[in-house]
Assembly symmetry: C2
Homo-oligomer: 185 residues x 2
């Protein structure tokens, strides 16, 4: 069971940084140090590994966001903490890259895992918006669902801007702009 974990851990990082379709089983074997026989024993198909990776990366991201928000007193502050998710944007989002991979979208199992990951993130943010409205830190005029979606989109878009321009500062500008819009209410 130890080699299985090594495979998943390597694939999580490689699919995240280099993409699912553009990372080969052979590269995962090399990175994890696991031999071919062992690799195919644990993961007879690439889809199986991909699904496990999307699921785990989704959970990792959700937990990271929750950890970043923990202890902050108001909903508004917790939302602003979420905007910091794009602080190392050149690495790419743990799950965002899968959404532009045709090989992922063509596979119902992977698409399904991806949808769950994004839905859970959006739900979390939506609840935080509601909490902010209850604690008085956010105006009750905001629609929780679309506000949460907009903030999630800003962060995902910030990753894209940074990678497209090659500069972290592009992501920083985007989140700063969102922060200003949110605090200028």
């Amino acid at each position: 069971m130890d080699n299985r974990r090594r495979i998943v851990d390597s694939a999580k990082r490689m699919f995240w940084r280099n993409g699912y379709s553009t990372t080969s089983p052979k590269q995962v074997m090399a990175d994890s140090g696991v031999g071919q026989g062992s690799y195919y024993h644990h993961f007879p198909s690439k889809t199986g590994l991909g699904k496990e990776v999307v699921d785990e990366n989704g959970r990792d991201l959700l937990e990271a966001v929750q950890a970043a928000m923990a202890g902050l007193p108001t909903g508004r502050e917790r939302l602003l903490a979420f905007l910091k998710s794009a602080d190392s944007a050149l690495e790419g989002c743990r799950v965002g890259g899968f959404a532009y991979d045709a090989g992922v979208l063509a596979d119902p199992e992977l698409q399904s895992s991806l949808r769950v990951a994004f839905t859970e993130l959006a739900d979390l943010l939506e609840n935080v918006v509601r909490e902010g409205q209850e604690d008085g830190s956010l105006p009750s005029s905001l629609d929780p669902v679309s506000t949460a979606a907009a903030l999630l989109a800003v962060v995902e878009g910030a990753f894209i801007l940074a990678r497209a321009t090659g500069q972290q500062s592009s992501a920083d500008a985007a989140t700063a702009g969102a922060k200003a819009l949110l605090t200028g209410l």
Copy 2:
């Protein structure tokens, strides 16, 4: 010169919808109806075709945004028109997908073309923010650079949300949330 154009036109659509690294020369030949000999005569390397595609898709997008804004009286209305860019988000952004393609980022020529495309879009939006401040439709307290970056990020993120969840409505929610934040100023 006619076959050359056919190749570029096919590649523009296929790289856009299916990704650069995951689309092979053979697929472009099949889609364009151009034979292998002709294909490699015009584009000896995939990088050359990729660069031309990124450049043209970037220009196409810029022109589409300008056309959508044309005739609108205030800067604020022109910005809101830009948010409609994510109206067919399941197709993906004409240029956004390249930012998550490792094969693109590893190639200095492609990375450079991509950077130009995003920079030009950001510059356009930045100018529109300034115009909105001059015509009184946007508060002068906004920072044009970061506000433009945030709006561009929302739209790019909206494409990601739609593709990840498989639903256009996810993109609509994001742009609606951004619109509310922008008009609630």
